[in-house]
């Protein structure tokens, strides 16, 4: 970008400190950029490849406190006759067990229930951070967090597979499809390897990250659009039209906020469902 263009842009941005539709200066709509997902660090660690202490880190601490407190206070005094809080926790555990773990792992999943419950509540809390006023940034929209969870599941998947079927048994079961003719194996094994050992953990992480990222972006666009379109001082009929546009954007924002809440729960569900499916797959061995 030339020096001239940069000065023009700077001048326009200076002029349009508060840009709205139908303005005098002719400022156009500046769509929210991905810089939303790169909050300015509050302080830096001065280490290579670090982000510093950002909003993500702060929200992560909030999530840890919230989820730990939730489980602590709901199950600390778990009684035979449950109170309200314990009832909520039991409903949650029942949901995870009946909808995710039992359907994919059966009775063997009982051992992995704490892990799955942790995953579900942790991811759900990280997702919902995107809707809580003041926070408004889903922690899972930073790939690092879904990646660490997906990687943990990937490691556990391999560990369980090797433990159940031995090193060779696990890798053979995952790489060589049973019943395939010998001559096609040189073709199948690389495909299976890429599918099961490379893409599977990647998609596991990116599915969650991408939906949260896109959902948050969508809400940001609606919010910024509504803000840009709101210009009642435009003069004459234009003010009314801008308010009408803005109202449409507001309705869209509200509808998509509700939709986003659903997506957040759904993605947490999908992540845990896949995690328990992978672990069950490792226990089962060859497929």
């Amino acid at each position: 970008m030339s020096a001239d263009a940069r000065t023009i842009l700077a001048a326009a941005e200076e002029h349009c400190a508060d840009p709205h539709i139908f303005n005098e200066a002719g400022c156009t709509f500046q769509a929210p950029s991905v810089s939303l997902f790169f909050p300015t660090p509050w302080f830096s660690y001065d280490l290579p490849y670090t982000s510093g202490f950002t909003k993500y880190t702060a929200l992560l601490i909030v999530v840890v406190l919230l989820v730990s407190a939730f489980w602590y206070f709901t199950t600390r005094n778990a009684k035979v006759v449950p109170g309200r809080a314990q009832g909520v926790a039991e409903a949650l555990v029942g949901f995870v067990r009946d909808q995710m773990v039992r359907t994919t792992m059966g009775k063997a999943g009982e051992k992995y229930m704490p892990l799955m419950v942790t995953l579900f509540t942790f991811i759900l809390a990280m997702n919902v951070m995107g809707l809580i006023p003041g926070f408004q940034l889903p922690v899972t929209s930073n790939l690092a967090f879904p990646a660490v969870l997906a990687l943990s599941i990937y490691v556990l998947w391999n560990y369980v597979g090797v433990r159940e079927h031995g090193f060779a048994g696990h890798f053979k079961g995952k790489l060589v499809p049973s019943g395939a003719p010998k001559w096609i194996l040189p073709l199948l094994i690389p495909i299976e390897f890429i599918s099961n050992f490379v893409f599977r953990p990647l998609t596991h992480a990116i599915r969650l990250f991408a939906t949260m990222f896109a959902g948050h972006m969508l809400l940001a666009v609606f919010a910024a659009g509504g803000f840009y379109l709101f210009n009642p001082d435009a003069g004459g009929i234009w003010g009314g039209i801008s308010v009408g546009y803005s109202a449409i954007a507001l309705i869209g924002f509200l509808v998509f906020t509700a939709f986003e809440l659903f997506i957040m729960a759904l993605q947490a569900y999908v992540f845990v469902l896949l995690a328990s499916f992978y672990i069950g797959d490792a226990i089962e061995g060859a497929h």
Binding site: S51, S68, T118
Partner: protein, 177 residues
Amino acid sequence: MVEMAAEENILRIHWDEFTFGLIAFLLILGVVTKLWPRFTKALDERANQIEGGIERAKKAEAEAEEIRQQYRDKLTEAHRAAGQELEKAKEQGTVIIAEAREEAQVEARRIIDAAHAQIEADRQHAMAQLRTEIGALSTDLASRIVGESLGDSATQGRVIDRFLDDLDRGDRPAEVR
């Protein structure tokens, strides 16, 4: 904005965030794992209690059924005993009435017999008295009518006896008329 997007790779994974994410995950996993036994303990205990409760309820039901049967038996027994008592009382009543009636009949017969005997005695007595009186009277009467004394006591006696016999037979002798 365009040049910023080139700098800001959305697929970046900063290792500090990655590490913090791992720590956060392990922390929550630790909390949940630590609390898990309490949770499952409460659930198991509940299951046990519900099972035990069902068993207790079944037992109590069986007991209640047994007691009900006992009461029913007792009630039937009581009904039967009451019926027997009533029957016995009825019988006794009949016996008492019969005895009383018999006694009364015996008593009545005794009274009647006594009365008959009395009457008979009175009749005999009256007859004897009458016999002497009528004898004297008729002799006296006859001697006055005939004018002569029936000095012969044998004849006198015979006449009187005949007369009395006639009286006894029921047909009145013409002479008296």
